[in-house]
């Protein structure tokens, strides 16, 4: 049963996030007063990329791409989708398990892309890891205070404990900080420094051709699923499968709309930003939780 649920997770993640990416391109086009591509454009892009004849850059490169995909797939399998009914592995959906598994994918990507030997790729990877340093610190402090408050790190138990009210309303500061960190995780506009097509030629992806591009696109799809699902489960109280999907779409559209009107930070501006206001708010949130001043 758990295996079927895990597979169902993957199917939902694939179709949901790919169509949402297409819809994001449409939204961005409408904001810029264009018509924009159809919503299924990203499916076409993905299948086309998988149909090309790519170049490899050695076995470290191949292995890195597979490791990235495997890490993201494994993480997407254990994410609860809104409630205990849609939790594939109720005993191992611990927040720390998810964070560790998720790092496997990111490290695989870093290893493979540096293995391509292109200097732009190395710069891109170093930027991506710096950005991780930026957003993970406030995010983890907020998550620690959440875990301390509810005395559990299991995601589906967190969802059940939020029956009385969403965590976003219980600790609004934490919710806001988590959303700002989420923008960085998704690589949305003010924080898309690691791929910056105009400056570093799309960074880590610079040497990816054809099928490799397709595989990393699939990895990206599952990463987006994991990141937004965590936010929806921990701060918006999950809910039944339908409500979970609605919240997922709302969070995604909000992130896209914010990102489509903002320019890009430089790397040190990003770090200063994350370690300034969001980090301060995260500490304040932790203090409020310790003092018991929650709503």
């Amino acid at each position: 049963m758990a295996a079927y649920k895990a597979l169902f997770n993957l199917v939902v993640a694939f179709f949901l996030v790919l169509s949402l990416e297409g819809i994001a391109r449409k939204i961005m086009a409408r904001i810029q007063r264009r018509i924009g591509p159809p919503w299924y454009q990203n499916f076409i892009d993905l299948f086309k990329a998988l149909s090309k004849h790519p170049f490899s850059n050695g076995w470290i490169f191949d292995f890195g791409v597979l490791m990235a995909l495997g890490g993201a797939l494994a993480t997407a399998m254990i994410i609860p989708m809104g409630s205990i009914t849609w939790t594939p592995f109720p005993n191992s959906d611990n927040f720390f398990v998810i964070m560790y598994l998720f790092a496997v994918g990111a490290l695989g990507m870093a290893m493979g892309m540096v293995g391509s030997g292109n200097p732009w790729a190395s710069i891109g990877v170093s930027r991506a890891l710096t950005q991780m340093l930026g957003y993970e610190l406030p995010y983890l402090i907020v998550m620690s205070s959440v875990i301390f408050f509810y005395k559990t790190a299991s995601i589906h138990k967190l969802i059940e404990l939020q029956r009385g009210g969403w965590n976003l309303l219980v600790m609004p500061l934490g919710g806001i900080v988590a959303f700002i960190s989420l923008m960085g995780m998704l690589g949305k506009k003010p924080f898309d420094i690691m791929i910056a097509p105009a400056e570093i030629a799309s960074g880590p992806m610079v040497e990816l051709s054809g099928k490799y591009m397709g595989l990393l696109h699939i990895m990206h799809v599952f990463s987006v699923f994991v990141e937004i699902s965590l936010f929806v489960d921990v701060f918006l109280g999950g809910g039944s499968f339908g409500w979970y999907l609605v919240k997922f779409v709302v969070v995604w559209v909000l992130a896209v709309m914010i990102s489509s009107v903002l320019p890009r930070f430089r790397i040190e501006q990003m770090l200063k930003f994350y370690w300034g206001v969001p980090l301060g708010l995260a500490f304040l949130n932790a203090l409020f939780v310790l003092l018991g001043w929650t709503l």
Binding site: A29, K48, S51, H53, F55, A201, S202, V206, S209, G210
Partner: protein, 178 residues
Amino acid sequence: MKERTIWEQIADSFRSRSIWMLHYCTGCGAMELPPTMTSRFDMERFGVAPMATPRQADILLITGYLNTKTLRRVIYTYEQMADPKYVIGFGSCTINGGIYFDSYSTINRLDYYVPVDVYIAGCMPRPEAILEAFNYLMEKIRKGEADGWKRYRENYEWYKQNQIRSLGEVYVHDEFHE
């Protein structure tokens, strides 16, 4: 022409709807690309999107005259792209030399050096003409007629000879592994 298998036909119809382009801006024609990309003409609605590197790109836009120095880079760029790849020659300079036909440092006919799938006539072509060319290229890809990359493989000796005749040497240096 060989019959395509059913998989190739499906793949070709995907390829025709999603064209990632690398615009290596060699000449003045590149000036017409920004309006084609942005809100006025909006080429993203056809699935055409700009890409940053040759590895990811499907089509190479040669936007105008090529002198022998840029030609070398264009050939390197073309050889770095993943098959299937397509080339659009942009403006009359790529067809027969245009107004630079008697210049000492430019090449006259692009088709001698890399296989061109679609030419756009005009000096310089307007965004409408560019969109028309993209649609024509999509049609050709869907029917499996855009086979420049196959021609380049089959007649590699001939292309190489032409390249060496104009450039002296063509050798892609692999600086990282040397």
